[in-house]
């Protein structure tokens, strides 16, 4: 399943690439891009555990940039 999300207050380009790296390490992720310019997160992950993956993704984003929120 592939989904797009909006990231609010993603302030730093380096953080965006850090997020991308960390998220891609998660189990069940096929591909992920964090687009700094468009402030967009695109995730392609296996259907069965998509919700769990999104929970982990949120944690990673919080960890790297505490002000950044993901709009579900």
């Amino acid at each position: 399943m592939k989904k797009n999300y909006r990231l609010n207050d993603l302030g730093c380009a380096n953080c965006a690439s850090k997020m991308e790296r960390e998220i891609s390490k998660l189990e069940g992720i096929n591909s992920v891009t964090v687009n700094f310019m468009m402030q967009k997160l695109t995730i392609d992950a296996v259907d069965e555990s998509f919700d769990d993956i999104m929970t982990s993704v949120q944690k990673i984003i919080k960890k790297i940039e505490p002000d950044c929120t993901i709009k579900m």
């Binding site: 380009a13 380096n14 953080c15 687009n35 310019m37 402030q39 919080k62 505490p66």
Partner: protein, 618 residues
């Protein structure tokens, strides 16, 4: 008060305190208190974020490095410098945010083709709804000045529509009943009633937006290089800084900690790779956005990068360099007038639904009068016999002429020749051929001018037709009478010919050539408007049917790469120089801050140039 305004106010207040601290000579403890106050007012948020990130296990982050650098400056007694460096950093960040926001805005204005509403007819009433809520086959009404919200077919009204948002074409297109219209175009004058053919999500405007927005997800080699570089750059610089602070004072006689710690601090300030991490992707994004403004959709940064290295351009003929529609191009009568020959032939052929008879009818322009025609007889493989106005007319190929014993001749031409006899006497011939597109000649010339080594045409068409077209256009090589499979084979062969770093681009109309499109380094689909298959198969989609846009795409690619390369060299160069000067104790923290945020701002502004595609590209 907006966030940005609050920020300016806070930094202004901090600056004021800093000026007081510098200007007034307080006793030393009070002096320090003033500097600390200014420091916390200006950089409190940076310190706070640094602490929070360390708690999250994020070291080496920008906030942390700036905090360490400025706190370090306090410790070595450089109070004014500590505060000013923080001030500079904050101001630089503000500029950087501003520059990024501006670029974001200009990008979103490029994509301002999304229609906001649709006027749909429901139960005899016109209601305004979100385009997403309109179903297939519903009837929508588009007034003058409005955007067409969904793809469909006109059932009432005629108008001119502006397709420039999709095609980059500035000449409006004429729309009549039963014309297909595409979402994203602007209705200029008339009132159009349209039957919806596609849901919003499937409509042209959604597809284009999706494509452009996702294009930056496919990264160019240079982008990947910067990402990898950024991963190692910061830790390496920080480690060197630590060594610099500790080792020389212990080993070199006379070296002091305060001097070497100061040198190390300049390292920490320069250690953020932000200038590159922001500006390089922005450059590619700008190039893609600018190209889309001219009706060229590039599906990824990698393709934009690859276009600049194009050495070979291979074209399909029909629909790419030629219009793919047949037209009467020559009328050579013998003994009768042009119009007479055309009139007789058009009537004789009028019962056939072959493309040739269609083009004859189009050329004749007036109505065919069926009552004038009798005794129509098709002669398969040869042509047709008919009696028109009481005259016996034979129209067909040379075999037919031989069969009826007519003496005929024709010049060397490209296209299909229709010979005609009237009452047994040879009356001349008409040539029907595929037209070359208006800009095909200039397309090839422009490609040559921008350094393409070789242009090749592949066609399934007959040898003399293909070669004549190639000659007219000035192509370097032509291969004719190819089956689709042969085309793949030819492209494979050409791929082996090019230099390892060069790329081969194949341009086709997206019909039947999907395998070749995907085999080429860069697959370019022409006339992508409305054709899903073409958008799907290609790496670059040219929205209108102008082959000259290929040269434009290459020019945009080259410009973008020039900007990206400038930024890489500039940012790395300045950082390297400041690092070297810092190590030798020549540069100070001020210069280091410039090498960090100053360079960032300049690189971002430079990247924003990639967005601008002016008239020189058209």
């Amino acid at each position: 008060m907006s966030k940005a305004k609050k920020e300016i106010f806070r930094i202004g207040a901090g600056t004021l305190v800093l000026i007081i601290a510098v200007a007034v000579s307080f006793p030393s403890y009070l002096n320090l208190a003033f500097f600390l106050a200014a420091y916390f007012i200006i950089g409190g948020d940076v310190l706070w974020r640094a602490i929070r990130n360390i708690l999250h296990g994020q070291v080496f982050d920008e906030n942390f490095l700036m905090s360490i650098a400025t706190i370090g400056a306090f410790f070595v007694g450089e109070y004014p410098e500590a505060v000013s460096v923080m001030l500079f950093y904050q101001v630089g960040e503000m500029f950087q945010d501003y520059a990024v926001n501006r670029s974001r805005k200009s990008i979103s204005s490029l994509m301002d083709i999304r229609p906001d509403y649709a006027n749909v007819k429901r139960n005899g009433e016109l209601v305004t709804v979100d385009p997403e809520e309109v179903a297939i086959n519903e009837i929508i009404v588009v007034k003058a000045g409005e955007k067409i919200p969904l793809d469909g077919k006109v059932i009432e009204g005629h108008s001119l529509v502006d397709t420039s948002a999709l095609t980059g074409e500035s000449v409006p297109r004429e729309i009549n009943v039963s014309s297909e219209v595409l979402s994203g175009c602007i209705n200029l004058n008339g009132l159009l009633t349209i039957q919806v053919a596609k849901e919003f999500g499937e409509s042209t405007v959604s597809k284009i937006l999706d494509l452009v927005e996702n294009a930056s997800n496919k990264k160019a080699k240079r982008e990947n290089f910067i990402t990898r570089f950024a991963r190692y750059y910061t830790p390496v610089v920080v480690i060197v800084a630590v060594i610099l602070a500790v080792v020389p004072p212990l080993l070199v006689p006379g070296a002091t900690f305060s001097d070497w710690i100061y040198r190390a601090l300049t390292f920490l300030v320069v250690s953020c790779p932000c200038a590159l991490v922001i500006s390089i992707p922005l450059g590619f994004f700008g190039g893609i956005g600018g190209a889309s403004k001219l009706g060229i959709l590039i599906k990824g940064g990698n393709y934009l990068e690859a276009l600049a290295a194009t050495e070979l351009v291979v074209f399909d003929k029909t629909g790419t360099l030629t219009k793919g529609t047949f037209k009467v191009t020559e009328i050579n009568p013998v003994g009768i007038s042009d119009t007479e020959l055309l009139e007789l032939t058009a009537h004789a052929e009028s019962y056939s639904n072959h493309p040739i008879s269609q083009s004859l009818k189009n050329a004749f322009e007036s109505e065919i009068d069926n009552s004038r025609i009798t005794d129509v007889e098709e002669i398969p493989g040869h042509g047709v016999k008919a009696v028109v106005d009481g005259k016996t007319v034979y129209a067909g190929n040379s075999k037919l002429m031989e069969k009826v014993g007519a003496v005929y001749s024709h010049n060397k031409t490209v296209g299909t020749v229709v010979h005609v006899t009237v009452n047994g006497v040879y009356a001349g011939y008409i040539v029907i051929s595929d037209e070359i597109k208006e800009d095909s000649v200039s397309a090839i010339a422009k490609l040559k001018a921008c350094g393409i080594h070789k242009t090749v045409m592949l066609t399934g068409d007959a040898k003399d037709v293909g070669e004549a077209v190639a000659e007219t256009l000035g192509l370097d090589e032509v291969y004719t009478e190819l089956l689709p499979v042969d085309k793949v084979e030819k492209v494979e062969k050409l791929l082996a010919e090019k230099s390892p770093k060069g790329n081969l681009a194949f341009a086709g109309d997206g019909i039947n050539d999907a395998p070749v499109l995907s085999r080429a380094d860069i697959g370019i689909a022409m006339g992508g408007l409305g054709s899903d298959a073409a958008i799907e198969a290609a790496d670059v989609v040219i929205m209108n049917d102008e082959p000259s846009k290929i040269a434009t795409a290459i020019a945009i690619s080259k410009k973008t790469l020039r900007i990206v390369n400038q930024n890489i060299v500039f940012a790395l160069g300045v950082k390297a120089i400041v690092l070297a000067m810092g190590a030798f104790g020549i540069s100070n923290l001020w210069e280091a801050v410039f090498a960090d945020v100053g360079v960032s701002v300049i690189a971002i502004l430079n990247s924003a140039r990639a967005l601008r595609v002016d008239n020189t590209f058209k």
